[in-house]
Symmetry: C2
Subunit: 767 residues, 2 copies
């Protein structure tokens, strides 16, 4: 279902209130729907099935994400919203975009009419709680705005959000019991350990809760200002109203415990609107109030939305694209999704909660949190090098602060708020930092960064890195997922080596370069696949190369997917096969193989044979053809994947968006190139899917990609010009792009098998 | 058992290390034990039975109180230590002095030898946990110092404490498994909701826990620096060692959860000492580290103890007394107990956790917490007006800050850390503030204070104050403990009126004076006792005047005790009886009545008939004889009570010391006068129990009290001179004392029934 078809009359009515000058023309023509770049964002993309995106209101990289939750228990609905659901639990203030594990969903607001419920009620019986049914025809979502009319109680809920503060606008029917309830006890899937709520005055409340979830301890404070004084209110603790008990005093205005709710009651006229301004903080309710005051206190709903739309326009306008509305919706929503995470994680006064729960000022940088690094080092941070260099530097500064605060002296692995989850494998903060360093991104201290990188890569405690450094591989008798870890450590070590070299640390360069070759130790020449070895060097027996085995030698995949994970030494990998021909033969079979061993793996989709685009280990694989003399296969698969696994529908994403990685993959591929090996400075050339894309880089430098003759059939490169020169290499370097220029493709219906044969592997390590 | 008899050889040996110049003489003479005033403090007084004091190390009004816990569940052992117990659970960092309800006991340190336990073990089987037996002969306690040798593992533990930081010194036997364990999961009686521990380096750890106890949410952070690097350490979560699990990384250096322990292991030589320096904070572990660094980081154990002893000397030397060693131990330990609470509650950088969990800087004052106001308004804060005027002003500033942060706009009732417990009744912050104001104590804003006082006294929600203000009494059908509340509100309102008058607010003066007469509405002329009335004015039926009924019309007492609670209008009360004679007849029977209705009340002792000195409602009663022509009865009861219910033994206190109130009662009574009505400026004269006491007031003004001929028989006043004048009134005003002077008693074995007959009630309200 598209965004367009979901737009009903109320949307236009309401939008008209904010954009009066254009409202009269909104109905006029389809084209007029897209007045600004921001109009191409459809937050409903990726909300159905595997994408795990949310449809709610958020500013670019915003700390607050106000969005409806339809499901709070299923692992598969990590964002809290599934387009397939028909009832909404509540509207909570924080959400992940595209993660594979649920968390957040903090501080639930819900409008009710009549006697309020303080339990949510199950999906199969919304009437037994505050849950309420809705229909997609009454729902609308755009960048910074979400609205739905709840079918059961006829309340329209609208959300908008700034950086740390947002608004919920409730349009009630006429009733003497219009309720806005807040449930402090719930979040997405996990345990609320403690919560606190205080009524500050007749229209202001504050509180916090602490959640033990995916993040071990996560504090969310909030302050909410209601536009109208409460007619009546109540604080509920364990289902009981906090009130005078005729024995000794018990405040009706505050409570703390595991199971707290608040409700405000109003008498409303037909269509009366009550607006709640709300802000969050990880520090205190007073900091939340400061965030609210500094951001939105004097503003109306429309003003906040307008400001957030302007922010989105500014971010999205860093790229100009030509294409159909559908293509632009796909493209700009992908860019929108890429620009949500990592999130801002500091208050207006620069204070943030550190990894050790101490409060720190972010001095000289902006602090970000939520680093899904196993995913985002691949394409998201490389995209940030192009379009968000300043933010990327601050993300690196945030990671270095994390390192400083880490009890284990480790850069983040999968950090979440002020927590390390240790989710996934490797030390992929390293490629993020090295990639930015190699590209000359300013704004962080390279020496300090290198120290953190090296200390992390030398950690004697972390996941058998020490054994790996001695033995040359991670042995499966000592460590799970040993093959994936060996391979990913190797790539990360390549990155350390690049930075060491650049800093003149030859000894380190040699050491980490040596470690980066570890993949060779796990290449089994009997199966021509990567295979586990134990600490004595014995191969894994029996070896199920196609089988996804939880806790086996591979991470969320099989040997068939991981065998290609040598992004930093593709030539070395090809050589192990005895050259490009046997290499590509083996690679071909990845896409055609149909073994049913892993059919039961429900959460990774987007399958082309055993190439699983729905998860990250596959993301670079199609580009290996570039280096084995068959770039047309890269070109073909780019188009196949984008046609089948991206689009502008709620179910268009084939896998978890993973904090923007799936979307960032699209953004690069749409341009016709991809950062196969972050930390090096080359991009491998694929095949453009849009006719024209212009990157507006820093310092007003434009890099324009054009694709002449491109259409659904003409997906093959006939020729390329780069900055005016004929270009026959299936890769080019960042230097060609960074000062602006033009990459011109001429496309055709059949491969030009002569193009792209010019590969000099020695160039790949160079700037 | 006295402190003296409990001092064994190790005490002298260890003390010798700190005070080498005097050690050689320590054995010489008994008198030489008392080199300094601080030597008269015996922290074991009040640790056996009802007193609920603790024996551990603490500085004056200190934030940290390092003390052994022998019991963590019984309501009756609220300080965690009972002298009757024979095993110690652990040494924790925080303790209440004398409360009736347990809480605190945070962050337990325990030395162990061999394989460490992570459960405490029950009293009847210490060997099944880290609990360890001890003997009082191996125990010693002095101001700022506590030491015990544990019988089971032969480890000597010594504690000392500064303001926010202290030390634990462990003297181990030779062992390859000397353990110092920390249990984060426990506290005195209540639930640890969450805890966190982090190993910062090879000798430093930090963490926090949050306890839901008497205080609804109480955060205690700590940082601990060990004098020797750990040979080995471990963090335990739910009984499992946090360690690498061969799957994915799990830090061995940190954890968070409900059930955390830490242990450090050492190999020790015979008598090897390991010192742990530790500090606490309510803000963060970093603030705890700052507290540690600013207070004790460069100091040795002996230096910290010396500094704390000097602080105690400075505080205790505000009074000079003459008497036997036993009398001086009794006196100075009472003064010590009075100078423990309220506690400092802010970090070295002035930051404290507010009532709303926001962090605030104490600007222009020092923030204190733990206000046991129902107790301490009676004698403790009046004592502070004399001996701690600056601190008392800051306590008032702390209460005003509490008021500012209160969701209910109420001054503290029974505040605990950053919590209001609503324990007990009334609004007795009012007499504390008014008493200080009336005595001209500087350092707080009177206008701001008055606004807080009046707002508190006019609160429409609090405990039927509004009904009381309309009806003239708190009706028992609307509110429990209605008679006690009516009477105490009346006294508090008298105080409001006094301050209103002084500020020229005549209307307020009249209004609150009117309210203060409410006691008359509950005086039942059929029984000549205070008696409950319902909202229609009907008397309570049946009326059990002698029976302690939980949740009845009286607070921790009976009508017989509460009938006398009109401290602000003693004449009015006497008049209700028709004059002094029937009044004193009724009062006499209080002390002789032996009804067994309340024999089952276990926690209030110190009974003389139905006068229960072990609880506060009785504390002013014996002074009523002064105003009814029989001051010799006051004199007699002062001596009876002090002889039987005070002393220098662990079991010398007949009731909970209640944050110093029981001890402050002693301090005043020992001098021969008592503040019957705080908020007025008079003291009623009792009978001195020490031959000479000199108060060293501010500005080097001394007020000396002498008692000629005083001995065990000569307890009756024969004559009095005040500042050189013959004094026949059984009361005098603060003005007579504040500039220094002398109060000279001549004592004899029989009452001089002519003395003290000169009462002018109109003088009692005046300065």
């Amino acid at each position: 279902m598209s965004k367009i078809s979901s737009l009903g009359f109320p949307y236009f009515f309401l939008m008209a209130l904010f954009f009066l000058p254009v409202c009269c023309r909104l109905h006029a023509q389809e084209a007029n729907k897209y007045k600004e770049t921001v109009d191409f964002v459809n937050p409903l993309i990726g909300t159905f099935g595997e994408g795990n995106c949310y449809p709610g209101a958020v500013a670019p990289f915003g700390m607050i994400q106000i969005s409806p939750d339809t499901e709070d228990n299923l692992w598969e609905t990590a964002s809290g919203y599934d387009y397939g659901d028909s009832s909404i639990i509540a509207f909570s203030l924080t959400h992940f975009s595209g993660t594979g594990i649920p968390d957040l969903g903090d501080i639930r607001f819900m409008p009710q009419v009549g006697k309020p419920w303080f339990v949510q009620g199950p999906k199969n019986n919304p009437d037994s709680g505050y849950r309420a049914r809705f229909s997609h025809k009454d729902e609308m979502a755009s960048a910074g705005y979400y609205s739905v009319k709840l079918s059961d109680n006829h309340v329209r809920v609208e959300c908008t959000a700034g950086d740390r503060a947002g608004m919920l606008r409730f349009t009630f029917p006429a009733t003497d019991s219009a309720i806005i309830s807040i449930d402090m006890s719930k979040n997405l899937r996990w345990n609320t350990i403690w919560s606190n709520i205080r009524v500050i005055n007749d229209s202001t409340i504050c509180g916090y809760h602490m959640v033990n979830g995916w993040a071990r301890e996560r504090y969310v404070y909030f302050t909410a200002v209601f536009s109208k004084p409460f007619l009546d209110f109540g604080v509920m603790n364990d289902g009981k109203l906090m009130t005078y008990n005729t024995y000794r005093f018990r405040s009706a205005k505050e409570s703390a415990g595991k199971n707290l709710q608040f409700f405000a009651r109003y008498s409303t006229q037909t269509d009366e609107q009550i607006v709640v301004k709300v802000a969050i903080s990880a520090i205190s309710s007073e900091s939340a109030a400061s965030n609210l005051n500094s951001e939105i206190i004097g503003l109306g709903f429309g003003q906040v939305l307008k400001s957030t739309r302007e922010k989105w326009n500014a971010e999205l306008n860093k790229v100009s694209v030509e294409g159909t509305s559908e293509e632009k919706e796909t493209y700009y929503t992908a860019l929108y999704h890429a620009f949500l995470t990592p999130m801002l994680y500091q208050d207006a006064d620069m204070t943030y909660r550190g990894l050790d729960n101490n409060f720190r000022k972010a001095v000289g940088f902006t602090n970000y949190a939520v680093f899904s690094l196993w995913d985002t080092y691949r394409a998201t941070h490389p995209l940030f090098c192009l379009l968000q260099p300043a933010r990327n530097a601050d993300m690196i500064n945030s990671m270095l602060a994390h390192y400083d605060q880490s009890a284990d002296h480790l850069l983040p692995v999968w950090s979440l708020s002020s927590n390390e989850t240790w989710c996934m494998i490797g030390y992929h903060a390293v490629p993020v930092i090295v990639d930015a360093y190699m590209k000359g991104i300013k704004g962080f201290d390279a020496q300090r960064a290198y120290e953190a990188i090296k200390t992390t890569a030398m950690n004697a405690d972390y996941d058998n890195v020490k054994t790996y450094s001695i033995l040359g591989w991670v042995p499966f008798d000592k460590e799970n997922e040993s093959v994936s870890k060996t391979l990913e450590y190797g790539f990360d070590d390549f990155c350390v080596a690049q930075m060491a070299k650049s800093l003149g640390k030859t000894e380190d360069y040699n050491y980490f370069t040596h470690r980066s070759k570890a993949y060779k130790n796990l290449f089994d020449t009997t199966t021509m696949l990567m295979r586990g070895r134990d600490s004595k060097g014995h191969w894994r027996e029996p070896f199920h190369s196609h089988e996804y085995i939880q806790g086996g030698d591979f991470t969320e995949g099989t040997s068939w997917q991981y065998t290609w994970y040598v992004p930093h030494d593709v030539k070395g990998l090809i050589d192990l096969y005895g050259g490009p021909k046997p290499f590509t033969q083996k690679l071909d079979s990845l896409f055609t193989f149909n073994d049913n061993s892993s059919d039961n793996v429900s959460d990774i989709q987007g399958r082309l044979g055993e190439y699983w685009h729905g998860n990250e280990p596959s993301h670079h694989i199609i580009y290996l053809y570039d280096f084995a003399g068959q770039p047309w296969k890269t070109q073909q698969y780019v188009h196949t994947i984008i046609k089948t696994q991206y689009g502008n529908k709620p179910n268009s994403l084939s896998g978890n968006d993973d904090c923007g990685q799936m979307s960032s993959w699209y953004i690069f591929n749409a341009m016709g190139f991809y950062p196969v090996c972050p930390g090096s400075n080359y991009y491998a050339i694929g095949s453009p899917v849009l006719k024209s894309i212009t990157l507006h880089l820093a310092d007003q430098k434009d890099f324009k990609i054009t694709a002449a003759n491109l259409n659904d059939e003409n997906i093959y490169i006939q020729s390329v010009k780069l900055n005016g020169r004929e270009w026959n290499k299936p890769y080019f370097h960042y230097d060609e792009l960074k000062n602006g220029g033009e990459l011109s493709f001429v496309m055709g219906p059949k491969p030009n098998k002569k193009w792209g044969q010019n590969v000099d592997f020695s160039e790949l390590d160079q700037k």
